[in-house]
């Protein structure tokens, strides 16, 4: 049985000209780490706030562990949902120490129980116990994020919501903290939903990715599926450059249309005897591990820009002509008969 069930949820703000979230449904399994990905204004944060109870749904229902949180005539207040939330800017209480922050939501627990829980949580997120007496302004950005995570986990939330938690960190720290967060969440078998517009973060840590666009859930699936088999151009381009091509299978003559990533293509020398797509190189940029090559090719009767991630031993120069093939057995359709 699913832990979190979001069914046909919609939300339109009073001054909004379109729904911020429109008829979104998905489920989250216990212990699963799911990412909601999308651009600014895609509705992912609104969806998170609807789950947290900070906004009210217009239609649809949300249930956690079989208990209805939102739906027809039901709206459970945020403090009664058992849902943890970590904000982008940490939202640590500046007037409380680390211990005060972590134990904030522990209610009427005894002092010793609170201390014990604080120690457990600090250990879990990899902070020394001596930090418990520090104030938020005495911590670095990464340490604050760890405290925010410890505070949210201290109450044993049914589901943990992470709202762009790594966005305010510099790139190096972000990557290490992202991996650390996944380790912590998996260590305590927490169920978590991460909202992010950094697709690399989502690909790296998620068990499943849900892509949102203009309030609608466009695609949901494993990171590999969403990356390699996007259902439309929006999802494809969200995760990086992509070519929409018609491939010819070598095993049969069927054509199939597919989104192909630049790293799935390769450059080959022009072979007059084979039917391949070819074109002139219009732009070459150095992308770190490879050359990002843009060619102007003719594909099914129309001129099209094709992007290839070139890792060959030779350097490609602008103005040269090259053939383009896939690294797998699929050939790119040209619309011409083989000679």
């Amino acid at each position: 049985m699913s832990l979190l069930e979001v069914q046909h949820v919609s939300k339109t703000y009073a001054r909004g000209d379109r729904p911020a979230v429109h008829d979104v449904s998905f489920t989250v399994q216990p212990g699963e780490f799911i990412s909601l990905v999308g651009e600014s204004g895609s509705g992912k944060t609104t969806l998170l706030r609807l789950i947290a109870g900070l906004e009210m749904t217009n239609t649809g229902s949300i249930s956690l562990d079989g208990r209805q949180l939102a739906g027809q005539g039901v709206h459970v207040a945020p403090e009664k949902r058992g849902v943890g939330l970590v904000f982008q800017h940490h939202a640590l209480f500046p007037h409380l120490t680390v211990a005060g922050n972590v134990s904030f939501g522990l209610g009427k627990a005894s002092a010793s129980a609170r201390l014990r829980r604080v120690s457990e949580m600090l250990e879990l997120v990899g902070l020394p116990e001596a930090y418990s007496r520090r104030y938020p302004h005495e911590l670095s950005g990464g340490e604050r994020q760890r405290v925010a995570l410890a505070r949210a986990l201290a109450i044993n939330p049914g589901v943990l919501l992470l709202d762009e938690p790594f966005s305010s960190l510099d790139p190096l720290l972000r990557e290490s903290l992202r991996d650390e967060t996944r380790r912590v969440l998996k260590a305590c078998s927490a169920t978590a939903i991460l909202v992010t517009h950094h697709t690399r973060d989502a690909l790296a840590v998620s068990d499943r990715i849900a892509v949102m666009h203009l309030g609608v859930l466009e695609q949901e699936g494993a990171p590999e599926d969403v990356y390699h088999h996007p259902v439309n151009g929006y999802v494809a381009s969200l995760f990086g450059p992509c070519n929409f091509l018609t491939l010819e299978e070598t095993t049969d003559v069927n054509h199939r249309q597919k989104w192909v990533r630049p790293d799935e293509l390769q450059l080959a020398s022009l072979d007059q005897n084979r039917v391949v797509m070819s074109g002139r190189v219009t732009q070459v940029t150095y992308g770190g591990g490879c050359q990002d090559v843009t060619l102007l090719c003719e594909h099914l009767g129309e001129k099209r820009e094709i992007k290839v991630c070139h890792k060959g031993n030779w350097a490609v120069k602008e103005g040269e002509s090259w053939a383009v093939t896939t690294k797998t057995d699929g050939r790119i359709g040209t619309g011409r008969e083989a000679s």
Binding site: E55, G105, P157
Partner: protein, 546 residues
């Protein structure tokens, strides 16, 4: 609905009982402000009678033009003193600038009626000029010259004590809001005069309008200076009609004219605020002042010293000299101390009520997120724009009507102090709301939300998260309200019980009895306490890295 719903922005659709109760907590203290206005509006419907006809045909026009002219002249002088000082402080680095940055605000601690008594003997120095005018032009011009002399001093006193409102807003605009375009203009090789006229002034227009509206409010509210120099303003007219001639309904109608003027001031400010397109949006960028030394630095220093001298140092020095002379003689300490205690207890009680009410209004809005509470807050802020004369007439009418009811005769005796506190509350609630609201705004909304998701309810969140963070703002609100009430004159003069003096009324009484030097000691006490109230203000105005 199964459980409580009290969410920012969404609770309006379906309210739980606790939301309604909470909204009431925010609305009641705000609605109290509307009571005196409502009372005045109702009573203004009554027939005016002969007294009103007499007022319209003989005095109203005189009151109107004198008030209009006074507002115009005071505003012009305040702009002349405040804007250049703000510009030099923002753009020039000259010797003494660090001290002047907070010292230029000091005239706010000098109540205009106190400065007026310090300048009382200035008119006497005009006597040779008056005699020359009489000998040269005749009696008619002699009388006119006397009037002009009084107007001149009154305008200088009001302008020099009120210019800090302009200075503060203009300085903030020049040094911060306009920093990027000013630096860009400087890089384009444009001279300082051209930058000032073509870039800085147009961009500072909304800020100047905000400061100017405060100067307008304070000028039309003034009773002490206008009464002292015999200027027939509308406020003086209201009290004359009510207290000297006993025509309450005439006073009420005159007070409504004051309200129209005040609303005009508000509209001016709002209109300018609407044109925020002039601002650059470089909110946190401060302008780097240009080193200004030598003769130019000296001139700039002198230019900044003039308003400080006229608005604070000269009257302050005069008071100190008089106080030193008076202390050697028999001084009525007992009456002064009793008046000081009255001022202290009244201001203490009212400021405590004000800050509690401000907290109720702002915190309930924060906790419940009910949109209608925004209007409650606006209603609470309205009081500062309502003329004191109108508040006095409204509260006075309420007290007299309550006392006239059966079994409420006791109110006639005891209600004056209560009424006075209520009048202070109405007039100065805005002074409390603004810092409290600013304090709450500084706290990120996500702190409140994260507390809710940690299982803590809205009111408990206010107690555990917001209050510990907002208390300096509460203290600032209470201090500002305390000081404003401590030096308040107009309401106190009218609504105080018989034989009950505060420091402000004590000073006016001594002045009326021509015991001006004796008034110096209570005046100095008043100024000293007002200086304490400036601490939060100077802190805000000097919050710049350089």
């Amino acid at each position: 609905m199964s459980e409580i719903m009290n969410l920012p922005g969404d609770a309006t659709s379906k309210k739980g009982w606790s939301v309604r109760a909470g909204a009431l907590l925010g609305w009641v203290p705000a609605l109290l402000v509307a009571l005196p206005i409502g009372m005045v509006l109702i009573r203004a419907m009554e027939p005016g009678g002969d007294a009103w006809d007499h007022m319209v045909s003989n005095l109203l026009w005189s009151y109107m033009w004198q008030t209009g002219l006074l507002v115009f002249l005071v505003l012009a002088l305040a702009l002349l003193l405040g804007v250049p000082a703000a510009w030099w402080m923002a753009t020039c680095q000259f010797p003494g600038r660090a001290v002047l940055r907070w010292a230029l605000v000091l005239p706010l601690a000098m109540p205009a009626f106190v400065a007026a008594l310090a300048y009382s003997d200035v008119t006497q120095s005009f006597i040779p000029a008056y005699i020359w005018v009489r000998n040269t032009f005749g009696l008619q011009y002699f009388l006119l010259a006397q009037q002009m002399g009084k107007w001149l001093v009154a305008v200088v006193v009001l302008g020099a004590t009120l210019y800090p409102y302009i200075f503060l807003t203009a300085y903030a605009s020049f040094s911060r809001q306009a920093a990027a375009p000013l630096e860009a203009a400087r890089m384009l090789g444009v001279g300082p005069w051209k930058i000032f006229l073509r870039v800085a002034l147009p961009m500072a227009r909304p800020a100047l309008a905000a400061g100017a509206s405060l100067v307008v409010f304070e000028t039309i509210n003034d009773y002490g200076v206008t009464h002292f120099f015999g200027i027939q303003s509308l406020t003086v007219g209201v009290f004359r009609a009510w207290l000297s001639e006993g025509h309450l309904h005439v006073a009420i109608r005159l007070a409504l004219f004051l309200l129209v003027l005040a609303v005009g001031g508000v509209m001016l400010e709002k209109g300018q605020r609407g044109s925020r397109g002039f601002e650059s949006g470089s909110g946190d960028q401060f302008l780097t002042p240009r080193p200004t030394t030598g003769m130019r630095g000296l001139l700039v220093l002198c230019g900044c010293l003039v308003p400080l001298l006229v608005g604070f140092l000269i009257p302050g020095w005069k008071l100190v000299i008089w106080a030193r002379d008076t202390l050697g003689e028999t001084f009525g300490w007992q009456a002064t101390l009793r008046a000081a205690w009255h001022s202290f207890s009244l201001a203490g009680t009212a400021s405590l009520l004000i800050v509690l009410a401000a907290l109720m209004i702002v915190a309930s809005r924060r906790a419940l997120g009910v949109k209608s509470l925004r209007w409650a807050q606006q209603l609470g802020l309205l009081g500062y724009a309502i003329p004191s004369a109108l508040v006095a007439v409204g509260v006075g009418t309420m007290i007299s009507q309550a006392a006239a009811a059966p079994n409420f005769a006791w109110m006639a005796l005891s209600a004056s102090v209560t009424g006075l506190v209520f009048a202070y509350y109405t007039r100065f609630l805005a002074v409390g709301i603004q810092p409290v609201d600013a304090g709450f705004r500084r706290i990120s909304g996500s702190l409140h939300e994260v507390s809710r998701t940690l299982g803590v309810g809205p009111w408990q969140t206010i107690w555990r998260v917001d209050l510990p963070l907002v208390w300096p703002s509460l203290l600032a609100g209470a201090t500002l309200a305390f000081v404003d009430i401590f030096k308040e004159l107009t309401l106190t003069l009218v609504l105080r019980p018989f034989d009950f003096e505060t420091l402000a009324t004590h000073i006016v009484r001594l002045t009326d009895e021509s015991r001006i030097p004796e008034a110096s000691i209570p005046s100095l006490i008043l100024v000293t306490l007002s200086l304490i109230g400036l601490i939060p203000l100077t802190h805000l105005s000097t919050k710049s890295p350089r």
